[in-house]
Every structure is written in structure tokens, then in C-alpha cells.
Assembly symmetry: C4
Homo-oligomer: 252 residues x 4
């Protein structure tokens, strides 16, 4: 068996397409944002990726139908702009080798569509709930910084300090070194404690400008507000309890 | 050395055979059931699978004779029905790669016999002893649900929540995606605490209807009752002790 | 780089040779015994095995000279009997795949010398110091049991219960299944707490009859007695202290 | 994707060059020393090594530009002496296989430049801060000991006891066994608690004599003194506190 098996369903002619990559990761920010784009833009399935680098697992639907875990790429032709491809999926490669191989093979097959730029999406873990989460950026070529900055992406000096680990980093690194394709990583600040639609919403707002496509973000806004209420209440309660403990300090 | 080595012993012509897969797993339900079928139907050995994906180990018989660990496939021709193949063995692949490769290679060699449907057997861990354990199902195509339901397989909404991990899942997933062979997983509810012949018996009762072969289940019934006595006593004692503790609650 | 690299130094014509395998393991029994044979019989180096399945390590001699870790095979022609080959080395393969590949590749290259029988040596862990440690046996074909029994090898029913893991087992298993070469494993009972020359001595006494070569065992006897004195004293002291504790039991 | 990808930038004709290898390791001694040589001798980039054996990671610069992790080899032609090549990098291979493959592939490509001798650099962990750290040596051929001794390398009997693990060892071992290239490992004694420029300085002083190149070591001397002040203060404070505890011993 090939370590990576790609089933291609369509052979569209694409106009110097952009690739958006959003696989599971910190706060699931990238996955939530990328899947939202696929849904809202009613994108077409281009190909599916099965691999030994994913867990040996099938999911089972509500009705009882199995589904072998995979990554998928969707596409959409957009008049007067670069066309769009989006990578989504159930898992990142579970080993170091798998991370490299999956990124490489995905890029190899997509480069045949004349892939122009890669945008990988991810979460940037803050370890606490942030009031106004930003979207941080990292680029393969510093000529991209000014444009992205003007669209709201932040490039704070020396962040992210530890670099970018996993698919969001390796796709850019291999794209640059082996395919001569430039790209950027957009990282939504997130607590990292739970799946974070608010961070995904921030990423989507900027991404929508990058790809020059207006998207209906109302569903994500609703999910984000819902999340904020829950975490807001949790934070409030937490604060109240801390206050009470403080009041009783002498008796603690 | 090939990572997987298959020694084929026979070249029978089979009539659109069904494959039953029962490797070690939760409660060893699948293995117990599948080995019982091989024994009761006096099936013939078709092939043996040796692999680096199994532990580097020989078993030693009572008499002192070594036996390299392996998986095996047995077959039986059945007049007027689909013929039968059964996969049994000492281990599942011990790595993610091994799970995929072993399932793929097994399917590849068996597909040459015009394999029609795959039934993988497993245990479904309940984390407690259940009074009337059911047999849950998951299928690769929802057209199979009604027939299996009519034979007693249960499809509770949203179960199994975590999907199916290991050989029982991957065989179905790869069968569907790469070999266009449909199949189902039959999962006997089990505590998961020990090898569970009672759960295997439940699976066998349904399986016997699926393959349309009457099997003498008396031996498995005996093992099941023996097991029930042991666990029943254990449960009873446990309950009595709990009761006593409760009676002494004030003094605890 | 090949995963296993074999440097062959000689091309002797051997008379249906026996292979003795003694790699590091429980109590280092096999390694100690096999290296003793190489030394006492002044055997010639046949080949060396380097591999990615060994740790990435060089040893450094007393003088400061590096030595890449390896396995080695030695040989000796013996008039009127089967010739002899001995496998010794610094490590067993450190992964499951490595265990299979190393055993397979070693057998493959040695089978070209018309290899007749394999004897793997190992320790059998007792978890305590045994007064009269025996040598247990396991064979690939039960026709070998009577001869080995007559030479002092013991075949207790159902031992070793867990089978034989690692090189000593896989060499036999692959030899039997893939090279049609029979063999036996000789396991010296040992506490398993330390390198055990006494157990190695027991194995050597029997092995010397099997290969029909008289060996000067005096050096190993000396090492064995030295060890016994040390462990004997340790055991005595331990017993005395236990006694004292018992005497003071009321005050403990 | 190839497991190791080498991008070669130049094809210089080199005069029996020496290779200095300094990858991350104990106290980062080798890496600090090797990078210092590259910088001070203004060496040219010869090639870059990307690999699945490195973590799937990009670093991000202060400005926000990504950098796929790699190893690199630099070179410099030196009139009237052996030319020089230096291996530096972000990581050693993260698996056993990776260690062997990376060392082998690096040696393979560099051997085409008529590579003559290998000097690997590393730290030798003392587990405490040593007043006058030495530079220990290990060689692939004992004919090298007298020269290196005369340049200040120490060969204490039986050290390093555990051998040399990782790139610094495997490069020598494979160089000797598979490429017939001799070499030595220079190990700077270090506490092993932190990156140690003082130990690197010691290694550089000796290395400068070996390669017969005078280097401006003043920057490394400054870093070393800075480090000594910090660790010196820490040690002093530690000693004072211990003293105080001793003074109060009766009341402890």
C-alpha cells in the first residue's frame, strides 16, 4: 500500500489558485475557519487523501455508516480573481515523517494546478482568555508583510518565539524550499483551552480580504457569541469565587 | 525482508465469499467468535501472514515447540450460499502503519478470490457488566442497515461515538475506499474487563444467520455460562459487601 | 544507506554448519556463553553487521579508539563434525522491525553457507537466585526434544509461558518458516538481576555436547565461582538481617 | 518525498578538506564552536540538508519570516593547507534511523570533495561546574593520538565510559567503516546545565591549531567571561547559603 493515497475527482483548469490550509490544531482555529469557507462558498471536492500517517480509524455517522479518516481538498473558480483551493481534514500526520510526507504530497499534486500562494491557518495559544484576540502572521518572504499588515495581520517582534510546528509550518517551509511557492501563516490568538470560533472568526475576516471574497460570516458570529457567553459566564463565576475567597482570607 | 509475508497453501475457486475478521481486541470478542467458527465448521487453512508489524516473538507449546506469531485465513465452500473465509490471528498490527498495511495486504490477496462482503467482529466496551449485552453494528453503506437490523443487530444513534479503531475499522474503511467492497462491523457489548465468551456468543448467533449456516453453539454456551457464574458470583459478593458497608454507614 | 550493512571478510566452504546465536539479553547469558566459545575456539571473523536498528553510538576503548556498534559472525571448521558459526554482538535490534530484519538478513547471508541447525542462547528469568539453575529448551520441531533431553536440556510443560521474545525467538521462527532450517533455544535459568556467568556455564556444558567439541571451561568456572561468592555473601547478609529483624519483631 | 533532501549551491574544487561537525548537543558546545568558525572565517555555503528526520517545524525570524529547519555545510579554501568544511544545523536526527541516515548522506555527498579527515565536536557532561574544563578526545585510529595529545587534547583512560552517542559518534563510525575516512571527536568538558561558550572556547583553541588557522577568539572569550561571571555568582551564592546552613547546623 502507498503510504499516502490520493483520489482525485475533478480536473479543473484553475487560474493561479490560492491554497488555504486548515487542519486540526490549537483551538481548532484553522479547521473551523477552513471548513466554514468550504461550506459558505459551496466549494467542490477536488481530491481526498488517505494515509497510514493518520490513525487506523473509521468514524461512524449518526445513522451508523463508517467513514475512513482523511484529508480533503476543495476548489472554487472565482471570476476576476485567483481561484481558491481549501485543504481540510480529520487529522494532521501523527508522526514527524507523516507531517513532511503529507505536506509534500499535497503540495506536489496541487502544484500541478499552478498553485500561486499558500495561506495556512492556525491558532496561537495564549494560555488564557484574551479580550481582543489578534491575528498574527508569519511569511515566507518579507515582501508579503506590508500587504498583510495593511489587512490587519499583526507581526509582533519575535513572535511566535518557538516557531510554527506541524502542518501550518511545514506546508510553508516545503512550499518555499522545494516548490518555490510563497505563503503565509495566519494565527488567531486563542486561549487554547477549547475549540475557538471567535478566533476563527477573526481569521476569516482577514482572509476574506486576502482572497477578495465577501463571505456571510453571520453563522460564525453567532457561534462566537455563544462561546463568549459561556466562557464569559465561566470567567465571571471564577472571578466571583476568587473574590469570595479573598473576602474570607482571614478564615482560610 | 518484506514487511508482510504471505504463505498461501491452497488455490480454491470460491463463490463470491464473505470474509469474517476476528482479531484480538476488546474483550477478545472477535477473536473468540472467529476461532469458534473455524473450529466448528472445520475450515481449511488458506494462507498465513507473517509480519514485522507483529511482535518479534515465538509462542512455545506445552510440549516445547516454537510457533512464530502470525495471522491466518481459513476458508470453506458452502453449497447454495456465499462461500466463507475467516481471518484469525495472534495480534493486530502494533503500529498505525502496521494496521493499514496488514489490512490492505490481507484485502488485496483475498480480493483475488472475488471477495464480496466483509464482516469484522469486535467488542464494544461498556466499562461495566451488562445484563443483556446487545450486538451493535456499523456499515459502509446504509443499504445494509435494514437487513442487519432484521437479524438483531442494533444501530443506536451516535454509537460508537469515537468511531472504530484498529483492524475492525480499517478493514472496512480500506475495503470501501480502495477495493469497492462493502462490509459491516458487529460489536458485541462487553464489560471489557476480561475475555468475554458471552458477548462472543451473541455475535455468533447473529453471524450464523448472516452467513446462513447453522452452527453448534453449545460449547460456546457452556463457556458463556461458566463465565457468567464466575462473574455473577463476583458481582453478588461485590454487592453484598457494598450492602454491608452501607449498613455500617454511620460507623464508617 | 541500507538499513543493514554486512561486511563479509571470508568465503570459507563450510560443512553443514551449526549456528550459535548469543546476543545481549536476560542476564546476558547468551552473550557471555557465545563470546566464550569464540574466544576459546579461536574462531575466525566471517562477517560484521552494521545497522540503523542499533543505537547511533560508538564505543571508546581504554586507549581512546572508537568502535561503531555491531554484530559479528565467527566461524571454525571442525574435522568430522558439523562446522561452527557463532553470532555475537553489542545489541539486539532496538525496534520490532529491527528484530525481524536483523534476524532475517543474518539468516539469509548465513544460509548460503548451507546452514543446518540454529541454536539460540538466552537467559530465563526466575526473579530470584536459584540454587541449581537448569537449562530449558524450546525447539522448532518436536523430533529434536529427545536428543536434547538426553544431553540435559529440560522441557518443563508450559514453560516458557510467555513465549520467547527477541532475537532468540525470531531467529528460530524465521529460520523455520522462511528458510526451512530447524533449531532450538537453550535458556539458562538466571535471577535476571545481573550478568550471570554461572547460568552461561550451564549452557556451555550442554552446548559443548551438542557441537561435540570439548572446551576448556575453567575460566568460566572461575568467573562463576567468583559470582557465587559475591551473590552468596549478599544473600547471607540479607538473610542475617532478615533474621535480626525477626528477632526484634516485637520492637519493630 | 526523499527522506533527506540536499540542495547543493556550489561545486568548488577542494584540496583534501577537513570536515568539522558541530550540531546541537550537550551544552551545545559543538554547535557554538562550529558556528563561530563559520562566522569568523566568513565561510561560503556549500549545501543545505532538509529532512523528515528533523522536527516538522519552521522557525520565525524577528521580522516574521519563516525558515524551515535544516543542517548546512559551509566551506573555505585555505592556501597551503587542507581546505575546510563545517557542518552546522538546527537539529540532530530525532530518531535512531535518522541519526544513521543523516550522517551517512552527509558523508556520502562530502566524500565527493575528497574529504580527508573528520573532526566532530561535542560536550562531555560533568554534572557539575568544573574549574578548568579540559578537551577530551576519541579517535578512529590510534595513530592520531600522539599528534592530538601534543595539541592539548586529553585521552583519559576509559573515558568516555558510555561511548559517544549521536551525530558526533556516528559520523566517525560510519566514516571509518563505510568511507575509510579517519577522524576524531573533540569533547569539551561542560557542566551540561546550559549552553557553554567557555567549553566551546577551549575546543576552538585546540581546533585552531589542528586546522592551522588563526582565528580571532575575542568574541567567544567575551561570551565565556560573561558566562563565568553569571555562573560564578550563582556558585558563590550557593556556597554562601550552604555555609550559613552549616553554621546553623545545631539548630537545623
Amino acid at each position: 500500500m502507498e503510504k499516502i493515497l490520493i483520489k482525485q475527482y475533478k480536473k479543473p483548469k484553475l487560474n493561479s489558485p490560492l491554497l488555504i490550509g486548515g487542519l486540526p490544531g490549537i483551538g481548532n482555529v484553522g479547521k473551523i475557519a477552513a471548513e466554514y469557507i468550504v461550506e459558505k462558498l459551496k466549494m467542490q471536492k477536488l481530491l481526498e487523501i488517505f494515509s497510514q500517517y493518520f490513525p487506523p480509524q473509521v468514524f461512524v455517522s449518526e445513522e451508523g455508516v463508517t467513514y475512513l479518516v482523511r484529508n480533503s481538498v476543495y476548489y472554487k473558480k472565482l471570476a476576476g480573481r485567483s481561484d481558491l483551493m481549501v485543504l481540510v481534514g480529520d487529522f494532521q500526520g501523527t508522526t514527524q515523517e507523516g507531517q513532511y510526507e503529507l505536506s509534500y504530497n499535497t503540495l506536489e499534486v496541487l502544484s500541478k494546478f499552478n498553485l500561486k500562494t499558500i495561506y495556512t491557518l492556525g491558532g496561537y495559544s495564549m494560555g488564557k482568555i484574551v479580550e481582543s484576540p489578534r491575528v498574527l502572521g508569519a511569511v515566507t518572504d518579507n515582501s508579503m508583510i506590508s500587504t498583510l499588515s495593511s489587512l490587519g495581520v499583526v507581526f509582533p517582534k519575535g513572535e511566535p518565539g518557538g516557531g510554527i510546528i506541524g502542518s501550518a509550518g511545514v506546508m510553508l517551509g516545503l512550499g518555499k524550499e522545494l516548490f518555490s511557492i510563497d505563503g503565509a501563516c495566519l494565527m488567531g490568538e486563542t486561549s487554547g483551552f477549547f475549540a475557538d470560533p471567535r478566533s476563527a472568526l477573526n481569521v476569516l475576516k482577514i482572509l476574506s480580504k486576502i482572497i477578495r471574497v465577501e463571505m456571510d460570516l453571520s453563522d460564525m458570529e453567532a457561534r462566537s457569541q455563544q462561546m463568549e457567553q459561556i466562557t464569559g459566564k465561566a470567567a465571571e463565576e471564577f472571578q466571583q469565587r476568587s473574590q469570595q475567597r479573598e473576602d474570607l482570607g482571614y478564615f482560610g
